[in-house]
């Protein structure tokens, strides 16, 4: 029993949902299965967005646009051509339970901004564009720039960037949550990188394709390792070494 919960509202439109969000103690519920298990005592109202968000993937020009209501299991089962397989892989790694993947949505996963989510790290590297609807209307913004306000309705990525992307992860077991995730993608601006896992924050960087070697890789490993601490998964020096190995592998793959 969630003792602080007073009401569950089901708005008919995004505008109504935004109106409800102004209420103190209100939180959006849309594939955020963690909300129910955490039972945050500060939450008094849940705004059920299920049914308001699109659940499909569509191609627009050179981009893939994902509805925020798409479940993670849909990403796993989607009939991807080769480049999309990395999304299925990232979704499976992000949440190992199929039951939870049937419930959790891409929007819920992105909105939570977990550093230990392979999907979030990958979308950072892909420089995903978020479509946000707020009180002032709809805007497009990057993952890094989104302040968490408004409702995430779509996530857009470049198809070409997706075709040249790669993921490296380190975990105690293949099915265990990764303590280090390193993603890279090749875009028109050069190589984009993002690291996550059991880290204080994401680390992101972009560099020219030709510059991504030797010293740059050593510098990236050093910089990214600052987001990690010595813990039961290993010392910071060990993680710095793993980062270098991951960047070297990404260089081969990209």
């Amino acid at each position: 029993m969630w003792s602080s919960l007073e009401s569950i509202v089901k708005p008919k439109t995004i505008a109504e949902a935004l109106e409800f969000r102004q209420t103190a103690g209100a939180r959006f519920l849309a594939g955020g299965s963690y909300l129910v298990s955490e039972q945050d005592p500060m939450v008094t109202t849940l705004i059920d967005l299920n049914g308001l968000l699109e659940t499909d993937v569509r191609e627009e020009a050179a981009a893939l646009v994902f509805g925020a209501g798409l479940t993670l299991q849909s990403l796993v089962e989607f009939q991807w051509d080769t480049p999309g397989v990395i999304l299925a892989e990232a979704a499976r790694y992000s949440v190992s339970s199929k039951n939870i993947r049937n419930q959790r949505t891409l929007g819920g996963e992105i909105a939570r901004m977990r550093t230990d989510s392979e999907l979030c790290v990958l979308f950072h590297a892909l420089r995903g564009v978020l479509h946000i609807t707020g009180k002032a209307g709809s805007i497009k913004t990057s993952l890094e720039d989104w302040d968490g306000n408004g409702i995430l309705t779509h996530i857009e990525i470049s198809r070409k960037t997706l075709e040249h992307s790669a993921l490296e992860r380190y975990a105690l077991l293949p099915s265990a949550p990764a303590f280090m995730i390193v993603c890279g993608a090749k875009s028109t601006h050069g190589f984009n990188f993002c690291t996550g896992g059991r880290a204080r924050n994401y680390w992101t960087e972009t560099c020219a394709e030709k510059a991504f070697k030797g010293e740059a890789i050593r510098n990236f490993s050093e910089a990214a390792s600052e987001q990690f601490e010595s813990d039961r998964y290993g010392t910071r020096a060990y993680k710095k070494m793993l980062l270098k190995i991951a960047f070297d592998r990404l260089r081969e793959k990209l």
Binding site: M1, W2, L5, E6, S7, I8, V9, K10, P11, K12, E16, S33, Y34, V36, S37, L46, D48, N50, Q73, R92, S96, S97, K98, N99, I100, R101, N102, Q103, S175
Partner: protein
Amino acid sequence: MLSVSNTDYFDLELTVNGTPVRRRIPTHLRLLDFLREELGLTGTKEVCGEGECGACTVLLDGLTVDACLIFAVETHGMEITTIEGLSRNGNLTPLQQAFIDHHSVQCGFCIPGMILSGEQMLRDHEQLTREEIRQDLSGNICRCTGYQKIVDAIESVSRDRR
């Protein structure tokens, strides 16, 4: 607009194991509590209560979900299958029989969830490898069997229908 609170009640309509159900329920009732307490379907088990173990697995519109992480009001208009809804006229499904034949049950607490996950994967895939079975069972934890005999049972049903 649907707006309900815990001082009010919600008139829930859904289909459970093929039977239409209407109940007036408190809005913040979890699906798990609704099934167990309101409908008496205690085959759906509660263990962790936070989506880790899968003992409360049910089929919601044909997909496996953890009933402990869903509010009953979210299932309005939907179709739920619990372990009680699988057998017909007292006849076990081939998978239920396979669990018996392969001695896949020890304490039995996880088994309703295991069987429902197995039923979904058998329905969704023509053939299943042991690796695919293990991957799809990733949301169901068993602390007794070591999983081998559970995988054996699901694999046998997949193999027998070739």
